[in-house]
Symmetry: C2
Subunit: 192 residues, 2 copies
């Protein structure tokens, strides 16, 4: 008997974002906010990590969904009361924001990171103000040894684009973002 380390049913939370010439999302803009850029791509595939990448991929990043790392019970309840899921038919616009935080961030203790994340930057409170218009899903990458620490996916209707832009502008203005040392943003639209 050989015990498999990774039963397939526990890997469903692993997602791959593959940039290239194929995928259900058309790239309308690709911007580097800080740090090294990524090769420009025309399409993006968001897919289970277990599936093979489309041909001619330029890059591929993986992440996993996980338990909340900072949110209190009160904050989780507030989010759940108003947030909507991915895949809404009217949400034909999307964004993928790839972020790496500095070694200084990761050297902080839990109470120090929480204080920056919420008490001084109000990360959850800011996001809450843009729900349910902007749906979000956070994917963790750092513990996979990936180049980015977080891959955040946003979906929103076309007429909510301004609201999305306000949201990310508000977050980038926080003390938490002083610890972001690489950030690349892709803006996307559903292909056909």
């Amino acid at each position: 008997m050989y015990v498999s380390a990774t039963p397939a049913d526990r890997l469903q939370s692993r997602v791959a974002f593959v940039g290239g010439r194929a995928g259900q999302w058309t790239v309308s803009a690709q911007q580097t906010w800080v740090g090294a850029s990524l090769p420009p791509v025309r399409r993006l595939s968001m897919q289970p990590a277990a599936e093979p990448s489309p041909e001619a991929a330029q890059w591929r990043f993986e992440g996993f969904t996980s338990n909340a790392r900072y949110a209190t019970r009160h904050e989780i309840s507030a989010l759940r009361a108003v947030q909507e899921g991915l895949g809404r038919p009217q949400a034909r616009h999307a964004a993928l924001i790839l972020i790496r935080k500095s070694p200084a961030w990761w050297a902080l203790a839990q109470d120090e990171r929480r204080a920056i994340f919420e008490e001084s930057s109000r990360h959850t409170a800011i996001g809450l103000a843009y729900l349910p218009a902007v749906a979000r899903q956070l994917h963790h990458s750092r513990d996979l040894g990936e180049p980015f620490d977080f891959l955040t996916w946003f979906e929103f209707p076309a007429d909510t684009t301004r609201r999305f832009e306000q949201l990310v502008r508000a977050l980038r203005a926080t003390p938490e973002w002083d610890y972001v040392d690489r950030e690349v943003e892709l803006r996307l639209e559903r292909a056909a």
Copy 2:
């Protein structure tokens, strides 16, 4: 240009524990505390995950070291002031404790998990009382889709075995352990 998702230098924190008939550690006892057992093995190899497993392995589990999830700055400073590293020549005894926590644990918010972990169970405070005799290293597995959530490695001198046993007994008596739904322990000695 194809951007690799996992640069080798960022994967150094990934460790594999491989049970079978080879490895630098001899298994002196293997005990299942709760949940399903593991096939018994004679030897254990602790190795970088990138290296191939020894032949005739019975099982293999991987984990990664990561940032502290609960410890405050004060607690981290207290630990650092007294803890010692792995690989001390006199620490010829070791233990590998494989743990899975219940879905109920993972559904808790950060403040709820922290309150159980430290304010009611005193996990860090208990561990601190056994430093520097017992050296520890926590490896995270859950986000890799592994069967266990945590692989904790302990090293201690032979004459500290009783202290190690007191430590794990104290932890198993805490409210935190109500959330442990699988636990297997291997006791080990350095092979000549």
